[in-house]
């Protein structure tokens, strides 16, 4: 309905760009004089352009540099902790610290294992491949590294330096471990990574109910995957055994986790960059299963599933996120049973963000499903696979592989959209600037631009790096070049 119809998507255009750039003749190395003549002073119009824009560009850069060097960063120095983790209770500060260290180790481990898996696959197929060196990794992630160093340079005590150094060390160690570990463990890298991630973010520093829910979901899919590796009777019996065992395991994990009573450490007071990254990651990972289901529902021939999916997707995509957040804040609690207390704002927000990203992911996955050639389905059906197996073993793996770059794009979009949480009173990264600027020491000092610069750099570094990575993945996966 609201989509742009059957035409090309932005990803197709990005693909054209990549292909056309690859097809261009390699640029020749010219001596400086000729290079300048060709690129700067070739004809009258070009000379005018060079002079006007060169002068304007230099002027802007000059004034920006003078301002950046002259600015008073005391406001950032004094508020660095609020910028990073908001008003987290002071006596529980070790929790986000440990959580950060564990997450970094997990990220390193998973990325190392996945890189090794791709490496081994390429070796098997006699494709050129080599382990990416640390230098190349630093070159790829320079923006994030630079901004982390920039941020930590505002610290007034030693702890943040130690924390960042420890996080980097664990990242390196985790990556080497992931690369070196045996293939059986590497095959489960995604599950291990997700468990580590949720353990650290939700169990160490979060709430028991959400932590239990997420760990339960991971257990469900992980156990189903493990049981699926064994020989099971075919048909409904096998399916029942498989998902029955998985469901029981998931419920047990959920019950154990929820039995540990804690309401979340400062759950109401979470904030800063912490909440921004947390909401983004959780929104995408919880939205993914629902998004895939919705995409399959939209492609289905069954009118009930199709209508329900289309209505949900087009409704969410047709309204702005703010209206959904207002809904979560004002309306969602009204749908709970009367004896329920009003959940924390963050919990309500996560529910809505999950639905929001599910709708967008569904459209991305639908694009991937359409890109899988029909012959694949037909060949699978001809070899006697059941309808479920065709989707699960043949269509979805190819479709999901093709949409990884678009999924990263959705991640970036959600990352930028989390700024809207401030509208319903959550202290996310951008909102901290307001808090800092009304402190008595800084009120009316005109320091707002400094805080905006700080925050904008933070957003920019993450989003820029991710978009570069998604373009790299696109060429690497050869999306659409089959």
């Amino acid at each position: 309905m609201t989509g742009a119809g059957e035409g090309l998507s932005a990803d197709d255009v990005a693909l054209f760009t990549a292909r056309a750039e690859a097809a261009r003749p390699p640029s020749q190395k010219l001596p400086p004089g000729q290079w300048a003549k060709k690129n700067l002073f070739d004809g009258f119009a070009n000379i005018i352009f060079t002079l006007v824009f060169g002068f304007a560009g230099l002027a802007v850069l000059f004034f920006l540099a003078v301002w950046v060097i002259d600015a008073d960063y005391e406001i950032v120095r004094r508020n660095l902790r609020i910028f990073m983790i908001g008003q987290f209770p002071k006596n529980e500060l070790w929790r986000p610290a440990v959580s950060l260290l564990v997450v970094m180790a997990g990220v390193g481990f998973t990325s190392g294992a996945l890189a090794r898996n791709a490496h081994d696959l390429a070796l098997e197929q006699d494709l050129p491949t080599e382990k990416s060196s640390w230098v190349s990794l630093i070159r790829r992630f320079w923006a994030v590294i630079a901004v982390v160093i920039f941020f930590v340079s505002f610290a007034r005590t030693l702890t943040p330096y130690l924390l960042v150094a420890g996080a980097f060390a664990l990242l390196v160690a985790g990556r080497e471990l992931g690369w070196a570990i045996n293939a059986a463990v590497r095959a489960r890298a995604i599950y291990i990574g997700a468990t580590i991630f949720l353990l650290s973010m939700l169990v160490i520093a979060g709430t028991s109910s959400l932590g239990g829910l997420s760990l339960g979901l991971i257990t469900l899919f992980w156990v189903a995957g493990e049981v699926g590796r064994r020989d099971l009777p075919g048909g409904v019996v096998g399916l029942t055994i498989r998902w029955g065992i998985a469901l029981v395991a998931a419920i047990v994990v959920y019950a154990i986790e929820v039995a540990i009573p804690y309401d979340g450490f400062g759950w109401e007071n979470w904030g800063g960059l912490h909440i921004t990254l947390f909401t983004t990651v959780l929104g995408i990972s919880l939205g993914m299963p629902f998004g895939i289901l919705l995409a399959l529902g939209r492609k289905s021939d069954l009118p009930v599933m199709k209508t329900a999916s289309v209505l949900f997707i087009e409704f969410i995509r047709g309204v702005p996120l703010i209206s959904l957040l207002l809904f979560s804040n004002l309306m969602l609690p009204l749908f709970l049973p009367i004896d329920f207390e009003r959940p924390a704002d963050l919990t309500l927000t996560i529910v809505v963000i999950t639905g929001f990203s599910a709708a967008y992911i569904a459209e991305i996955v639908r694009g991937g499903l359409q890109a899988v050639p029909k012959g694949q389905t037909e060949a699978a059906q001809a070899s006697g696979m059941s309808a479920g197996s065709v989707q699960r073993l043949i269509v979805l793996p190819q479709a999901l592989r093709a949409v990884i770059p678009a999924m990263v794009g959705q991640f970036i979009a959600l990352f930028k959209d989390t700024t809207l949480l401030q509208i319903i009173g959550i202290l996310e990264f951008l909102r901290v600037t307001d808090v800092a600027n009304v402190q008595p020491d800084f009120l009316g000092k005109g320091l707002a631009p400094v805080t905006y610069l700080f925050v904008a750099l933070g957003y920019w570094a993450f989003a820029y790096t991710m978009s570069k990575e998604s373009r790299r993945l696109e060429t690497k996966l050869g999306v659409g070049v089959r």
Binding site: M1, T2, G3, A4, G5, G7, L8, S9, A10, D12, V13, F16, T17, A20, N39, L40, D42, N46, F49, T50, F53, G54, G57, D301, L302, P303, V304, M305, T307, F315, R317, V319, P320, L321, I322, S323, L326, F327, L330, M331, L334, F335, I338, A387, K416, D417, T418, T419, L420, Q422, I423, L430, A448, P449, Y452, A456, W460, A463, Y464, S467
Partner: protein, 450 residues
């Protein structure tokens, strides 16, 4: 743009209640009908399938061609659909009963009568007062959203196209500047751009209204409170003049069509823009003289204290900040689409244009851009939709477009459920209309295949 036409137009904005109450109620009625029709369609399809299945099985009862019922794909499909439908209906019924219990508990008004109650808010630069009804206030909010979109989308399209072309320029400086612009603004949240534009550029960058900057002898006024521009003011015979201008526009279009036809038949240069504008200006001048100066110019002015504006066309600061920021942000995305589409135009086209000795401008204007726009248009529609949805970010800087207005109404303890429903309904309608218009244009743009 936010204007208050001074003088005779003052009462105008107040009495023209075109489509206020009726528009909202009409949209609600359409929604209700759509929900009912969807339900009827789904249940109808399901019953039809069941009847078909029963018929099929009854006909072939004796030959063993059909699988047993629990292995029949059609039967399984119907069973699954009934299951899903039952779950959906049960969940909705459960949520509805919770909602009704809670609404009764806190005494929530669930009727739409509040639409005719006084809104209790006023909008800057708008004749609307606290005693006007909620639906009138909402209508003004809708119109403000439309004002942002109508100015912003064309501006973003033009800026984005220029930057997209600049990114492909052979001039090194221009290309690097354009790349830097795109890579910076594309990767920061639009809300950051809006807030910086509002608090830093517009509030700090422009003088206070007491020391307003008045270039060109006071015909323009720039301050951090308002921008004011000269405007036109209707005098006697204004209605007749407007009618003649409309006819002049039609005449100009007819002349342009005629010139195009002449060009197609004889190949002589058409100059259709020149001819069209000439016709229009000629008719307008004759009418202006004949009707005895039906319009006068209105010069913006500040009072003695330098606070109250009068005359001219005035633009609210948050409006200017929101539109500028969204244009800057959206233009980066449009630039990427335009760049990709230009690169997607076949190289042979460019080479052929060069072989015909077309100039750089001619090559872009007549060969590359028409083909690139054809590729770019579908993703551009998505950007236009994003722009219209992002206009809701005005809530952060207090420009009274519809979302921010609804938020103000919550503050007047107007009922939230109905207002959120109306808000979502408005954006859904807007998205539908925009994408329908976009798809229509797209169909015209595409090459007719064999």
């Amino acid at each position: 743009m936010h204007y208050v036409s001074a003088g005779p137009g003052e009462a105008h904005g107040h009495t023209t209640n075109w489509g206020d109450v009726s528009m909202i109620r009409f949209l609600l009625a359409v929604l209700a009908v759509a929900v009912v029709l969807t339900g009827v369609y789904v249940v109808g399809r399901l019953i039809y399938d069941i009847v078909q299945l029963i018929g099929e099985r009854r006909r072939s009862k004796n030959d063993a061609a059909l699988p047993p019922l629990w292995r029949d794909v059609k039967a399984l499909g119907i069973a699954a659909q009934i299951g899903v439908l039952a779950i959906i209906v049960a969940v909705i019924a459960y949520l509805r009963s919770n909602f009704l219990t809670r609404a009764e508990d806190i005494g929530l008004n669930l009727s739409f009568d509040f639409l005719d109650q006084p809104a209790g808010i006023s909008i800057a630069d708008n004749p609307l007062g606290p005693n006007d009804t909620v639906s009138e206030a909402l209508t003004q909010g809708f119109l403000n959203t439309i004002r942002v979109i109508l100015i912003g989308i064309p501006a973003a399209l033009i800026l984005g196209t220029l930057i997209g072309i600049a990114r492909l320029s052979s001039n090194w400086v221009l290309q690097k500047l354009a790349t830097g612009y795109v890579e910076f603004f594309r990767n920061i949240p639009p809300l950051v751009v809006i807030i910086v534009m509002w608090r830093v550029v517009f509030l700090e960058g422009f003088p206070r209204s007491q020391e307003a900057w008045k270039p060109l002898g006071g015909w323009f006024i720039f301050s951090n409170n308002r921008f004011a521009f000269p405007s036109l003011l209707g005098q006697d015979n204004f209605d007749a003049f407007r009618l003649i201008l409309l006819l002049g526009l039609l005449a100009a279009a007819a002349v342009a069509v005629w010139r195009t036809r002449v060009f197609n038949e004889t190949g002589s240069p058409h100059h259709r823009v020149l001819w069209g504008v000439g016709t229009f200006v000629g008719i307008a001048t004759v009418a202006y003289v004949a009707l005895g100066a039906p319009i006068a110019t209105s010069k913006p002015a500040l009072d003695e204290a330098g606070r109250v504006f009068s005359g001219g066309l005035r633009m609210q600061m948050p409006y200017a900040a929101l539109t500028t920021a969204l244009v800057i942000y959206t233009a980066t995305h449009i630039a990427e689409i335009v760049r990709g589409s230009i690169l997607a135009v076949h190289r042979g086209q460019v080479e052929a244009a060069n072989a015909l000795a077309l100039s750089g401008f001619q090559r872009y204007r007549f060969v590359v851009l028409p083909q690139a726009m054809r590729i770019a248009f579908p993703p551009l529609i998505n950007q236009f939709l994003n722009f219209s949805k992002n206009s809701s970010l005005a809530i952060a800087i207090g420009f009274s477009e519809v979302t921010s207005l609804v938020n103000d109404l919550f503050g007047q303890s107007q009922p939230a459920p109905q207002l959120i429903l109306i808000l979502m309904l408005f954006y859904l309608t807007l998205s539908l209309v925009l994408s329908a218009v976009g798809n229509l244009i797209n169909r015209r743009l595409q090459v007719v295949g064999r």
